[in-house]
């Protein structure tokens, strides 16, 4: 037994040694390619993205095509799911190992701009190194803060009100329409609730959700954050929004708070609407497919309610954007990559509508004939609200704390622990502190 153990340990030590030397050998080789003297300088970029399986396959394909077109550039790839993406990004940025090109969105990027991690792209755009001349102007402006371009639109999405068409038909109520007021929406919810069986509710309680709240402000022409990163939202705004949902909840049209609290995350297939627990839900348009896949009922989507149906201006665009690291060693090549991703027809033929409606008008026209039914639906929805798009100021550092304070404040109202006044007070205090 002892002799066998000795041999086993020796063997393992040997394996360990070869594994170690094997990997470090590769590292040395990899770094050598960066400094190879040749006719064209070999460059290695690192690109990072989030998504699901389909997206990884498509992105890999696109990057392979890019490498074929530019043989001197190699793209190292890092991808993970959305939830883990920012954790890894934060540590990499801290370790000065951030990717050269990466996905961002308006919610996440504010944290990094003020900390000098994001490269300003305006000069490259002006020089047409990143050619945005075919883009909808609004879709370029979405990535701008204080006159500098930080994000390039890769795919767009926006808020939407999902509803279960099959269920509405069954109970004989007309589904919500485009451009109804919040009061009309409240009425609709109560009307629906009266006809629903026990254990099914009209709509999820969105009193503590930031996305609908931002939309609520947008259709009033208001912004949550000001241009210089302070709070523009007022206590009265918060009170009004909390009151709206408090009323809907107390009428019994939303699930009770403890049922609501079971699902802190909005995973589409597990969502309440997909499981037939609610008839309507506020979400984002590019997840339509995911919601639909979780249920046999037919789902549909319409624009969120607006403050004033006579003047329905105000729609926030989210989505997937591309940014460049401020510390990249190869800005030229990184720009080439971004340019390729948003402008090259070959690339777009692979990606198509994976990220939602895209920025380049010419490419959007080109791929239209090749789209599937649900993809066409997605574009149609975007088109229907495009005219109302307004621009929002990016979330500044401290925004995550504000977000969580908002959730908690409403939870306290919903569970009856605090009055709306108190909760709104607490929230404003916490939010101001967080933004100092």
């Amino acid at each position: 037994m002892r002799k066998k153990m000795m041999a086993l340990v020796a063997l393992c030590a040997l394996l360990a040694a070869t594994a170690c030397s094997g990997s470090s050998g590769k590292t040395a080789e990899e770094s050598a390619t960066g400094s190879q003297a040749g006719s064209q300088e070999k460059v290695e970029l690192k690109m990072s993205w989030w998504g699901g399986d389909q997206r990884h396959v498509k992105m890999n394909e696109v990057l392979d095509k890019f490498e074929q077109k530019y043989p001197n550039i190699k793209v190292n790839r890092e991808f993970t799911t959305y939830d883990e993406y920012w954790n890894r990004f934060a540590v990499e940025a801290a370790g000065k190992n951030a990717p050269d090109v990466f996905f961002t969105n308006p919610g996440g990027i504010g944290q990094y701009i003020s900390r000098g991690q994001i490269m300003g792209l305006k000069s490259m755009v002006d020089a047409k190194e990143i050619d945005l001349s075919n883009f909808e102007q609004k879709l370029i402006d979405v990535g701008v803060m204080n006159g500098e371009i930080y994000m390039v639109t890769y795919g767009t999405t926006t808020t939407a009100l999902y509803y279960n068409k099959t269920l509405f038909d069954k109970i004989g109520v007309a589904p919500p329409e485009m451009n109804i007021s919040w009061d009309q929406f409240s009425q609709k919810a109560k009307e629906v609730q009266a006809k629903l069986p026990k254990g099914v509710w009209a709509v999820e309680d969105n009193g503590g959700r930031m996305n609908p709240f931002n939309h609520y402000l947008a259709t009033q022409g208001k912004n949550f954050y000001s241009k210089d990163g302070k709070l523009e939202v007022t206590k009265d705004d918060v009170i009004a929004y909390f009151k709206l949902w408090d009323d809907i909840r107390k009428s019994g049209a939303t699930p009770p708070p403890q049922v609501q609290a079971e699902y802190p995350t909005e995973n589409p297939e597990q969502s309440m609407i997909s499981r037939g627990v609610v008839a309507m839900q506020m979400g984002v348009s590019n997840q339509f497919n995911a919601y639909q896949m979780g249920t046999k009922d037919q789902l549909d989507m319409v624009r969120l309610p607006v403050y004033d149906p006579a003047n329905p201006q105000g729609q926030i665009v989210w989505g997937t954007f591309l940014s460049m690291s401020a510390h990249t060693e190869h800005p030229k090549e990184a720009a080439m990559l971004i340019n390729y991703l948003v402008n090259d027809p070959d690339a777009m033929n692979v990606i198509k509508m994976e990220f939602g409606p895209i920025g380049s008008k010419t490419l959007a026209e080109a791929i239209k004939p090749t789209l599937s039914e649900s993809e066409v639906k997605g574009i149609a929805f975007m088109d229907s609200v495009a005219q109302y798009i307004t621009l929002q100021n990016f979330a500044p550092p401290g925004a995550p704390e504000v977000d969580s304070a908002f959730v908690r404040a409403y939870e306290k109202v919903a569970f009856g622990q605090e009055s709306i006044e108190q909760a709104a007070d607490e929230f404003m205090q916490a939010a101001n502190e967080a933004l100092q």
């Binding site: 393992c12 799911t81 540590v91 801290a94």
Partner: protein, 285 residues
Amino acid sequence: MRTSSGRKIRPYAAISKHLLIAGGALVMIYPLLWMLFSSFKLPENIFNDAGLWSERFTLDNYAKGWEGVARTSFAVFMKNSFIVSGLSIVGNIFACSLAAYAFSRLEFRFKNALFAAMLVTIMLPFHVVVVPQYIIFNELGWINTFLPLVVPKFLGTESFFIFLMVQFMRTLPRELDQAATVDGCGKVQIYWRVVLPLTLPAIITTIIFTFIWTWNDFFSHLLYLADIRKQTITLGLRLFLDSDSVSQWGPMLAMSVVSLVPVFIVFLFFQKYLVEGITAGGVKG
């Protein structure tokens, strides 16, 4: 009924003991059953079914799951997990048993201070050491390799096992050491021939726990394994789910079941040795 030593026992006591344990076992295992059953269900039924049963069962999830993510077969993830876990086990046994022997059997200057230092390393939450450690490994060029995951085990960073082995070694009678010394053994030989073999229960425990913990480890894998071909099952399983697009719960559950199989095997195999294969006490060999 009689026990092996021939004493009578009351049948009711035995039956109710049995029932309790069996009932408890069902409670323990229900979630696993749920996972098992769900892995054979259609995606739209997984969360909609009330209990274990479903209208239709399918093998699709396993087929799709094995295909993996981003054109990387799940077999690759399993292979990588085996490598990381296997090397970690060797590293832990090696470094921790050596250190434990020193702490439990030898007298040396700074012993108490070093022992305290060892314990303190377990008490600091890893989230605050993650960033400095990442920077160190980055400087060494070890990012995107298995090295940051495995080398620390060979350097005894998993102090849990040092402490575990210390406790086991301290229960071994000193007379054994003395007898060996009289026979002419030096400290090294006492370690190798006397203490180590008798600490086998602790070593088996180390094997089981190291395997299971490294098999299930996530955050460090996320940080240090960027290239998909180097990724392990915890990363692979997570890739099936994505809150931004369609998640594949069916394949994810199926592959979770598959991932549990090696863990079960390791556990079943070694726990046998743990409980049956060793005569307790006495001097062996």
